[in-house]
């Protein structure tokens, strides 16, 4: 690690000012990804601004029936919160599918959005990587790219966003509240993360110095019909090769509302609103799900070692939608195994 200074922020305004006063500063919430990147010399901040005493760790009801997740609430406290468990079980399942208990106890909700890709070349300082060092090239294209993306990729970068939690947040239409040098604003979740384009070093649409203060969930939580299906190389404590967050409302066997988001396939949680629209008004059958899955994967592109993900994702979508319809998942006593039926 490089030498750096550390201050503990006591208020949001103070943290934002402190960030503006130090050109190479970084906010640190739980630090589970940032400290790892600092140990690998990928991240080299000269100043860290501790956030844990800002008091943004509450999970509270919103007047419109939604739920506000404080940016500094831990992933574990969020997953196990009674309101999240009962009203947003998709989010509960997605969080518990990710990382390990130790990491979930430290990692914060805001930090989850800010974690960086686990593409091997991003971590390997000996190889070119446009995300780590703009203009140096992409080693994953033509390299070992099993973990890389198949949708929304560019000639500059095929890295994926590694989060599980964010896939559920995307499906649930979460709103991100931020505070920065120019005051407060909100960002729709689908606009928060970016596709790589020719600027893969930019993961998101935050302006310099902006700090996430909360994640606001709308009232609709799809607690009756949902599934978070995560497919990975081992049963636990591994990043997704492909994950699917599926949520539906049903009238009998007819779909009246639907959400579909994918993880492990793109630079951002991949949500396809046209595919969602194709579900509405249709019967909840394998044929419907198959057509929708084909639509989602229409523009998919494989890069060799990750080409299998196209078929994997297509089948995962069908299975997740089927699970959400039938809700034959055992949710009470065996909740942790849901993602690996």
């Amino acid at each position: 690690m490089n030498s750096f200074t550390f201050t503990q922020a006591m208020a949001v305004a103070g943290a934002v000012q402190d960030k503006a006063a130090h050109p190479d500063a970084a906010y640190i919430g739980g630090g589970t990804n940032l400290i790892d990147l600092m140990k690998e010399n990928v991240a080299r901040p000269t100043h860290l601004i501790g956030l844990k005493k800002l008091g943004l760790d509450a999970i509270e009801a919103l007047p419109d029936g939604g739920l506000r997740l404080g940016a500094l609430a831990t992933n574990a406290d969020t997953a196990w919160h009674p309101e999240v468990e009962s009203r947003y079980p998709l989010l509960n399942q997605a969080i518990l599918a990710g990382a390990s208990p130790q990491l979930r106890n430290m990692a914060t909700d805001g930090g989850n959005l800010m974690q960086r890709t686990r593409c091997y070349y991003f971590y390997d300082l000996a190889t070119p990587c446009n995300k780590r060092e703009p203009g140096s090239g992409c080693s994953a294209i033509g390299g070992y790219n099993r973990v890389c993306g198949i949708l929304g990729t560019s000639d500059s970068c095929i890295a994926t966003h590694p989060s599980d939690m964010c896939v559920a947040l995307a499906a649930l239409d979460t709103v991100v509240r931020v505070s920065g040098p120019n005051g407060e604003r909100t960002i729709q979740f689908e606009d928060f993360h970016r596709l790589p384009g020719d600027q893969p070093e930019r993961d998101n649409t935050l302006e310099p110095g902006e700090l996430i203060t909360s994640l606001d969930l709308p009232a609709k939580g799809f607690e009756k019909n949902f599934s978070y299906l995560k497919l990975r190389d081992r049963t636990s404590y591994a990043f997704a090769l492909v994950s699917v967050a599926a949520a539906m409302e049903l009238d009998g066997n007819t779909i009246t509302d639907a959400r579909l988001a994918l993880g492990g396939v793109a630079h951002k949680p991949w949500r396809d609103k046209e595919a969602e629209a194709m579900l509405v008004g249709q019967p909840a059958t394998a044929a419907t799900f198959g057509r929708v899955a084909a639509k989602v994967l229409e523009g998919a592109k494989g890069y060799g070692a990750n080409t299998f993900k196209i078929e994997l994702a297509r089948r995962a979508i069908v299975r997740a939608l089927k699970q959400a319809t039938e809700m034959n998942q055992v949710l009470d006593t065996n909740a942790f195994q849901n993602s690996n039926p």
Partner: protein, 196 residues
């Protein structure tokens, strides 16, 4: 005679950030350390306080050997800076029991021969203590899942599972027998006898 320069590659030496005080309550004792901000909680425990029960394994949060409890919750001490824990209560393997009176988990690990090498065991026991504190695991399958942050290749997992299940059983925290026995059949692990 060759000349030795202080910094490599002709770069000027980098000024180090100053140390700063951190107050930690560790295993019931207050400590104030004067440390560099990049000192991890793990290094603070081992290098400044001589609490070497907590192990540095992978140093990247992947193996769980460095697991300690911060305010009752298990964390990877290698991925956390000590300066982030001002005023926190930290419990390490040394603080779970005494030589005369081991904690129930420590005793269960002995009874079930649940030891990997000394490197992984303290983290496994601290992680299991965190699992007990959380109160979420009620079946064998759930214990397996919630112990998955502790990785080792020694192959003692099945005995660790038995040890943790015994303590859960003794504390009345498991579901009725059949729930976890059914899981045990699938996992190819003999279930622990429920208390008579």
């Amino acid at each position: 005679m060759s000349q030795v320069t202080q910094a490599p590659l002709g770069r000027p030496p980098v000024a180090l950030a100053p140390t700063q005080p951190v107050r930690l309550n560790i295993n019931g004792q207050d400590h104030t350390l004067e440390i560099a901000p990049w000192t991890t909680l793990l290094d603070a425990l081992r290098e400044y306080l001589d609490l070497t029960g907590t192990k540095k394994g992978c140093d990247h949060g992947q193996c769980g050997a460095c697991t300690v409890l911060v305010d009752g919750k298990r964390v990877n001490s290698c991925l956390s800076l000590a300066v982030m824990h001002d005023d926190s209560h930290i419990q390490t393997i040394e603080g779970l029991g005494t030589e005369d009176k081991l904690s129930p988990l420590q005793q269960a690990f002995i009874d079930h021969d649940a030891f990997q090498c000394g490197y992984c065991t303290p983290g496994q026991i601290c992680s299991a203590q965190g699992l007990l504190n959380e109160g979420k695991a009620k079946t064998e399958a759930q214990v397996r899942e919630l112990m998955s942050g502790n990785v080792c290749r020694c192959g003692a997992y099945s005995n660790i599972l038995s040890a943790v299940m015994e303590v859960l059983t003794n504390e009345g925290l498991i579901l009725e027998d059949k729930a976890w026995s059914a899981g045990a059949a699938n996992q190819n692990v003999a279930p622990v006898e429920p208390p008579k």
